[in-house]
Symmetry: C2
Subunit: 482 residues, 2 copies
Amino acid sequence: MRPVHWGAAVTFAIASLASAVAAAALPAEAAPRETRIPEAAITTAAQLRETALASDLGYRITESLTTEVGARLAGSEADARAVAWAEAKFRQLGFDRVWLEPVTFPKWERRSERAAVLGPNAQVLHLTALGGSPGGIVEGEVVRFADLATLEALPAGALAGKIAFVDYRMERARDGSGYGPGSRVRSRGPSAAIRAGAIGFVMRSAGTDSHRNPHTGITRFDEGLTPVPSAALSVPDADQLARLLQIRPQRLQVALDCGWNGEATSHNVVGEITGSGSAGGTGGSDEVVLIGGHLDSWDLGTGAIDDAAGVGITMAAAALIGQLPRRPARTIRVVAYANEEQGLYGGKAYAATHAAQAGKHQISAESDFGAGRIYAYSSSAPVHALAADRQIAEALAPLGIAYAPGTGGPGPDLGPLVERGAAWARLAQDGTDYFDLHHTPDDTFDKIDPAAVAQNVAAYAVFTYLAASAEGDFGSRAIAPK
Amino acid sequence: MRPVHWGAAVTFAIASLASAVAAAALPAEAAPRETRIPEAAITTAAQLRETALASDLGYRITESLTTEVGARLAGSEADARAVAWAEAKFRQLGFDRVWLEPVTFPKWERRSERAAVLGPNAQVLHLTALGGSPGGIVEGEVVRFADLATLEALPAGALAGKIAFVDYRMERARDGSGYGPGSRVRSRGPSAAIRAGAIGFVMRSAGTDSHRNPHTGITRFDEGLTPVPSAALSVPDADQLARLLQIRPQRLQVALDCGWNGEATSHNVVGEITGSGSAGGTGGSDEVVLIGGHLDSWDLGTGAIDDAAGVGITMAAAALIGQLPRRPARTIRVVAYANEEQGLYGGKAYAATHAAQAGKHQISAESDFGAGRIYAYSSSAPVHALAADRQIAEALAPLGIAYAPGTGGPGPDLGPLVERGAAWARLAQDGTDYFDLHHTPDDTFDKIDPAAVAQNVAAYAVFTYLAASAEGDFGSRAIAPK
């Protein structure tokens, strides 16, 4: 999942903006023909939905990636194996075209990490370096802050020689909305600590669990600052440190061996089920419905919910469509994105490579919020596509999915493509438990519910098939980047 | 909790044996007077129960030990701090007498541990050394066994150069009965692997959780065998290794830095609330009702459920009795045992030191099965004490505790004293979730439910007060060790 920038509030704002832009544009242009989905496609989608619900394909793909490759930090040897795995899996599943698109990024490595309270209450604490942290051994008095704002309000030098500890507890929510404030501590806390003079930064993990497994995730240091070792304590360790600080001042040693190490090139892996090109509307096989997830993971777990599940769900949905007797008009493209975790590198590279074809992306959806059941559907559909949008929602309803127009936004790796003018859909997953596991060692295959994955595959198959079969568009048009 | 030897079946056998011995002995001796508890004591116990339920003392003692000391592996620097903590806490709580009794044992240390699958599915696995394991780096093909019996049936040399993997999944049960077969893999698996020629041993943790936190615990190597590195994989890692072995043969590297390192001396810490000595029966203040838990913990967690809770519950129960306007006749003795985890050293030392006074221990009870609610009461009471035993059970009933005569056995550290003739009682805790946390990094204070601890304190206070007030005995008499 997009690590830092996309809180629910932000994505909602984008969705509203997109609708407003679409509505405002209408009077100045020729009104587009109303988009409709043929009844025959609706009938086929209903059968496809039942086929997908009875299939374990998405679950098995997720198992294959998490087991055979395991953790796959962007730029690592395992990441390269994941790319080879994805290419081979697309071919094995009968995709018509399979190719790689290179993605280059700075390479960050984690080698070791440990922390200990020193002195009369000496004890080990469990933490993990934030992605992007430098290595180093620092030792100093810990100063606790209940939230980020309190740290950010400090005058320069107030923490000279000390280690900042932001003890903000993120909240559980189905839509993941607690992650906005939670991940802001991670993205902005280290720089705030440095500005106050701190020699190190620790935070309560942005997570909702109670296990001794800290949550990693990328951080960035503001320009002009000298980065300091920055890490997240597991939730029980943050509890412990907070209790210890109520007894007496505490000295902490944090020892991280990690850091940036040159550049690496990985790949977006793309597979296509070629469309029949026989649509009665504007669409042909040169138009694509794009679905996907990201191939990389953090190194602590095996990236099961983040995001092998997204790869498995979308690969399976497209493969099941490919097994139908008749293909939909448009091409279905599945993208397994490179290095989402450290800055949406795959999504940005894809958008840059395909900017001119943004208008040929009928509509796009990304699965990157775990493996929980989908509970809501929404999209950026403009007025002329709302009838088709509702047809999709009706076909999804038997899966327990509500139509929620005007909510949400595109998935993280889709953001850059949407900025180029592509329409998006959102199949909102139940993320109530997502942040129990997200970015921790506990993100492993055993946490995946096969029935929930099958429901996801069914939803993606229905959505994708119908969008690929629509007569008319969903509002995509290439726009120049700002 | 006693790590290896005391499955429910075994303890039940002991209970039955004790009853049989008591019954068989009766005709040969003068029939003892029937033991009874005065009505005034019953009334006081009912008030004490309500006071204890409203008190957070047990919870706060548990918090203090787990926070201020944290993990306290027997023989470590933290273990010495735990001894000092216990002595100071007894005094702070107003105990009349507080003293230390030395306990000497071999010292085992854990320094580091890691494991990785090598080759085409290369990945890190999470494991932890079993207590008593030697260090060393071994690398070889993994051979999986579904259970211990299959490994034990192998001919010598069958695993030459290989690493044995026992993939037995222990079962969840309220009374912890799944731990018998689960811990047998740990106690006997390494020796069986060595006899078959293996260079290393790994097992699925004896645990019921699904987290990336392996369960440690003591193992022993049979005499005449050369120990090999022996470790437990976390449950998800065992799942992963089992899946990987279905794909192809796998090579594993296990690197442990740990081992025995000389001797250490720690202490049983003992606190007493002196009895009034005014009992109308046989009892006086030279007789004691003993309750306790163990002070040491494994090093991975902070030993909250195992067994700071037991220390907190029994210290608090005695302290609340000490605050009553009138003391019971007998003395209440709380023992915080040293080094239970690595072989009941504290319990054995206590029994050796106090063997001659086994008959002066009116009845003894140990809290070492977590911090779950107590659901059943039983004891070794012989026929002449059954009426008093029932009086205790009736006073416990309002706490939701059932009378379950003939079940269970003494706690682990009490075993050696019971072998010397001391009577025991069992306040059976709900252990349904105990093996989610037991011997893992996740055994931390946040897992403790204050209301459940208060119920435990109330139960121990009632039991202890009534036993200390009884007119007559519960069958203790010093017997020569076998």
